[in-house]
Amino acid sequence: MSAISSAAQPDLPIPDPLPLRLKLLIIATLKLDDVRPEEIPDDEPLIGSPRFGLDSLDALELVLAIEQEFGVKIGNSEESRRALGTVNTLAAYLRSCPVAA
């Protein structure tokens, strides 16, 4: 059945699952119970955003959660700050890590 569906719609782009996975992780880690994944933009700053009120302590929690979830090691605070820029920069960072799952 799925093979038939795929064959019938060959040109539809396959959604990248990583940004959605990251948004779900952000919501769960930071207990943003009133926020839905689609409300987190892909390309707006995560930390310091007045929309979500995330600060450096939230960033620390997020870094630990990301390291645990994806099996990566963020080396220093500057690398952490760059990676946590936006959902897109975080996704790009994880794709650049050889051990990211």
């Binding site: 600060d55 450096s56 302590l57 620390l60 870094v63 630990l64 963020i74 080396g75 220093n76 605070s77 500057e78 690398e79 952490s80």
Partner: protein, 369 residues
Amino acid sequence: MNAPADQLAVGLMACGCLTPFGDAGATTTALLAGRRALEFSPVLGRGGGDLVPLALTGPMDETLPPRWLPALRQLGAGIPPAAWGAARSPVIVASSNFGVGSLYAFTRDHDTRHLAHGTPFASVGLLRGEFGWGEHVHIFSHACVTAHLGLAHAARLLHAGLADRVLVFAFDFVSPFVAGGFHSLKILNGALPAPYARRESGSIGLGDGAAFAVLTRDSAPFRLAAHALHNEMFHPTGNQPDGAGFAACAAAIAATAGGRRVWVKGHGTGTLEAGRLEAEGLARQFPSAPLVSWKGSLGHTLGSCGLVELAVALAALRGGRIPGTVGGAAPSFADNVALEPFGGTDFDGAILTSNAFGGAHAAMLLTHD
């Protein structure tokens, strides 16, 4: 509006410290030679983990009694005898972490004996018993400006006529709990600190440190002439991004220095953002004063650093040579960062500063004959 500095001059009747190099004299000699006490060690001690730069007086693991007690006994042997802890001779104990590593050890080993010195009150109680101090013991803890607060409080006690002499005693020994915390923050990592260096990423080292000072209102060859304290009240962890907090404290202490020729011993942990703001703020107030940090060798001894580094400064002044910024590298955040030792006889004062998590700033003016 920023508070002016306290100008309550007090005499330094005695001062000493303990670092992995030994006492203040040995520490100064090592710094002048450019030696680092920092070595790469597992962040969790026997628990393993990443290798990070730590300057330790012995294995980091928690012991019974706590590993800092024998070291403090050694330091305490140099304290001039007095009825310490009596009403007119109070003791101020300053630490950022006291025996917090023992709480970690308790959670790991479930040995309740660790709890006997796991809190500030309990660890100071252990010291009181060890040194025979009376009941007039004040406990101070305000992150990395703690020792400065203790020294400033001592000056206030003396000038208020509430004490004849004050012993300020500071200690912080690295534990897996503390090292692990800084490692989680990503600022204690696999690189050596390079204070004030303009580079791609920052890092700190942590170190064991303890020190004491005896202060009176009597005249002495070395004097603490002024203290400036400032808290940004801006953010629970971060600094004002424009450096206003660093600038306010530097301006307050500069106002007390008058026309003195000073050098500056800064905080300089090796982090990038705070290091830049600090160096720029100090350079604006003291553009021709050499700026040094010794944390690239000794590591950051947290709440005790202000007093440990005061003891080193005194030993350096006695010897006539001031250690440079060990571990630093050009280019620096400010032109006046001194990477190499320099002569101390060209100066008639020194500014010693510390900064803390959450935007707390402290500075003091050290003067001498």
